[in-house]
Amino acid sequence: MIVDHLKSLYGYRELIWQLAWSEFKLRYKNSVLGYFWSLLEPLLMLTVLYVVFSNLMRVQVEYFQLFLLLGIILWNFVTRATTIGTIAIIGKADMIKKVYFPRDIFVISACLTALIMSFFEAIIFILFMLAYRVPISINLLYAPILLIFLFVLSLGLSLILSALNVFFRDVQFIWQVILQAGFFVTPIIYTIDIFPADLQKIVLLNPVARMIISARDSIIYSLPVSTNDMAFMLATSFIFLVVGYIVFFRLEPKFGEEI
C-alpha cells in the first residue's frame, strides 16, 4: 500500500512541483523587486537581529552572523512549511471539491514551497560562508541528511495540522502561538549553554532544536554529529511522518464534505 502510494505520488510529481512553484511565484506577484525579495528578506532580518544581539546583548559566539543566519533560515523553513501546510487543504477548497488527486499532494507541495524559499535564503548563507572564509570539512556531508530530517518532520506536522484544520479552524491560530513560543525555546538566537544542564535535556527533546544545533556543528564548525543525535532525529522525524499520515488518511475521506 505504501509502495502504491509512493508510485502514484511519483506519477503526480509534475503537479506537486507546479503547485509548489506557482504558490512561490504568487508571493512575489505585484511587487516591484519580485524574486529579489526572497534574498532581501533574510538579509534585512539578519541585519536587525545582528545589530540587536551583537551590540546590545554582547553574545560571544564564533561566526555569530552565520550562527544566527543558519538558525533563522532553518527555523523559518519549519515556520513556513507548517504555516502554508496548515492551510494547504482549506485554502484549496475549490480544487478539492472539483477534482481528485491524492490530497497529501497539497501538503507536500506546501512544504516544497517553503523549501524553495529557503533555497534562496541558503544562497545568502553560502555567500556569507565564502565571505567569512569558513573552513569546511567532510562533516558538511551531514547537512543534506539533516535537511531531509527537517523536511520530513515539517511534512509530518503539516499533515496533522492541515487535516485537523479542516474540522477546527482554531488549529491555525493555536499553531501560530506555538510557533512563536517555539522560537524562544529553541536555540536560534542563543546557544544552548545558557540553560542549566537538566533544562538542556528538556530543550533537546525538541527535534528542531537538535537539528539546528547539529546543522550548525556540521556546516559552520566542522564538527561531526553524534550517532545518538542522528538516531534521535531519524526516529522523531519518522514518527511525525507516520503519525501525520495516519491522522491525515483517517480524516481525508470527509474533506470533500466538510470543507
Partner: protein, 413 residues
C-alpha cells in the same frame, strides 16, 4: 471491460442544525448531543459502465446526479456499498479549477493543464494551440484578473479539451454559455466518443442526452428509477405522470381553476353542456403534461350535458406560450357529426405526431352549437410542454428533406 462498477451504493449527508466549526464550540457542546438530520442523497444505486460507452444521468434538480458524479470522481466517498473505477477519471465538473487571477494566461494554462493530468512536455508544445483555439494569442502574458469572464471560460475550455481522458465526467455546468460555446462542447464530446472514451454525462438537456448517450440512468430523489436504452429512459422521465415529473398536478390544478372560475374573460357560454375536464395522455396511455416532440398524444375532453343537445361541435385551438394562434380544428371541420350528447361522456382527439419542437403550449377547448353559439368555452385554460427530441430549431417541424443534384452544379460548358 467494465470501467465503472457501482453496487448497492448509498450516500447520506449529515446536516447539522448548528455547525461547530471551532474547537471552543466543540468543547462547550460536548454535553449537548450534536443535533443533525440525515439526508439520504443516494439510495441503493447499482449500475456498471462498459469501456467506450456513453452513459447519461438525468433527473430533476436534487435527484442526486451531481453527488453521484462526485462519487465517481472520488471527490466524495460513499456511505455504504462498492464503487470500483478501473480507469483514470477526468472530471469536467467545472472549468478552470485552480485558475488564479494573479497569474498570466500561460501560467494558468500550465497549472490547470497539470491538474487535468497533462504532462509538462505535452503542455509546452500545446500552449500555442490552446491560446489560438481560445482566440487569446495577444493576451498570453496578461493576468487572468484582467480577462472578461467569457475569455476565462474560453481559456479554461481550450485547455481542458487538450487532455486525453479515459473516463470523462461531464456536468451540466458546461451547458452554460452561448450557442457557439455549447456547440463547441458538443463537438468535443462527439470527438471523444469517436475515440472510444467512456463518458458519463449529466444534463438537463434531454436532446443532447438522446444524441450522445447509449444508455441513460434516471434518478428520482436519490433512487435509481431506471437504467437502459436512452430513448426508453427519457420516455419514462418525460411520461412518468404523477410519479417523477415535477409539474404533476397541472391538469388538475388547471381544470379545478376553470370549474370555480366563472370569469367571463376565460370562460363563457350558456353551459347547457359543460366541459368538466381536459386530460392529456402520452403514447403509453398515461396522463402527462410533458411530451417528446414527434410522439403521439391524446387529448380527452370530458363533458357533462344537462339536457339533450343535438348536433354539438367540439373544438380546440392551440396557442404558443406568447398567445400566438397556431392551430384550430373542430369536429365539424373534420366531418364528424355527433347526433346528440346527453349526460356525462368524453371525446378524444388523437394526435399522431406532435409537430412542435419545444416549448409550452396553451389549449382552448370549446363546445358550441352549429351556429357558433358557445355552450362552454375555456379560453387557453390548459397547457402542456413539449421537450425536444431532435436538433431542428424553431417552433414547428416542417416535413422536408434536402436534395442535392450533382448535375445542376456542373460547370457551364
Amino acid at each position: 471491460m467494465r470501467v465503472i462498477e457501482i453496487e448497492h451504493m448509498y450516500k447520506s449527508f449529515r446536516i447539522p442544525h448548528e455547525k461547530r466549526n471551532t474547537l471552543f464550540e466543540s468543547m462547550t457542546g460536548v454535553f449537548k448531543p450534536p443535533s443533525y438530520e440525515t439526508f439520504n442523497a443516494l439510495n441503493d444505486i447499482n449500475f456498471s459502465v462498459e469501456e467506450g460507452e456513453a452513459i447519461g444521468i438525468i433527473g430533476e434538480n436534487g435527484s442526486g446526479k451531481s453527488t453521484l458524479l462526485k462519487i465517481i470522481a472520488h471527490i466524495l466517498n460513499p456511505t455504504d456499498g462498492n464503487v470500483k473505477i478501473n480507469k483514470k477519471v477526468t472530471p469536467f465538473l467545472e472549468l478552470g479549477v485552480g485558475f488564479h487571477p494573479e497569474m498570466t494566461a500561460v501560467e494558468n494554462i500550465k497549472t490547470y493543464g497539470t491538474i487535468m493530468g497533462m504532462s509538462k512536455r505535452n503542455l509546452k508544445s500545446r500552449t500555442d494551440d490552446i491560446l489560438e483555439f481560445a482566440g487569446l494569442e495577444k493576451f498570453r502574458d496578461a493576468k487572468l484578473k484582467n480577462f472578461s469572464s467569457g475569455m476565462q471560460v474560453r481559456l479554461a475550455f481550450s485547455t481542458a479539451i487538450q487532455t486525453d481522458p479515459e473516463i470523462l465526467l461531464m456536468d451540466e455546468v458546461l451547458a452554460v454559455g452561448d450557442m457557439e460555446f455549447q456547440r463547441k462542447c458538443l463537438d468535443v464530446l462527439n470527438n471523444y466518443r469517436k475515440e472510444g472514451v467512456t463518458i458519463v454525462f449529466v444534463s438537463h438537456d434531454l436532446s443532447s442526452v438522446r444524441r450522445f448517450c447509449d444508455r441513460t440512468l434516471l434518478l428520482h430523489k436519490g433512487e435509481q428509477v431506471a437504467i437502459g436504452e436512452t430513448g426508453d429512459v427519457i420516455d419514462k422521465y418525460v411520461y412518468s405522470g404523477g410519479e417523477i415529473s415535477p409539474d404533476v398536478n397541472e391538469i388538475e390544478k388547471d381544470s379545478s381553476q376553470t370549474d370555480d372560475d366563472s370569469n367571463e374573460s376565460v370562460r363563457w357560454g350558456n353551459k347547457k353542456v359543460e366541459i368538466t375536464g381536459v386530460k392529456f395522455y402520452d403514447k403509453f396511455g398515461n396522463g402527462s403534461t410533458r411530451f417528446n416532440s414527434f410522439d403521439s398524444m391524446k387529448i380527452r375532453i370530458l363533458y357533462k350535458s344537462h339536457q339533450k343537445i343535438l348536433d354539438p361541435v367540439f373544438g380546440i385551438a392551440l396557442y404558443s406560450e406568447n398567445g400566438e394562434y397556431l392551430f384550430g380544428t373542430n369536429t365539424e371541420l373534420k366531418k364528424l357529426f355527433i347526433n346528440y350528447v346527453e349526460g356525462e361522456g368524453y371525446i378524444d382527439l388523437d394526435v399522431d405526431r406532435i409537430p412542435m419542437l419545444m416549448g409550452k403550449f396553451l389549449l382552448t377547448v370549446a363546445i358550441h352549437a352549429h351556429d357558433q353559439k358557445p355552450y362552454d368555452w375555456h379560453d387557453k385554460q390548459y397547457s402542456f410542454d413539449v421537450i425536444p427530441s431532435g436538433r431542428d430549431a424553431g417552433l414547428f417541424e416542417i416535413p422536408c428533406q434536402w436534395n442535392y443534384d450533382n448535375m445542376v452544379t456542373r460547370a457551364r460548358d
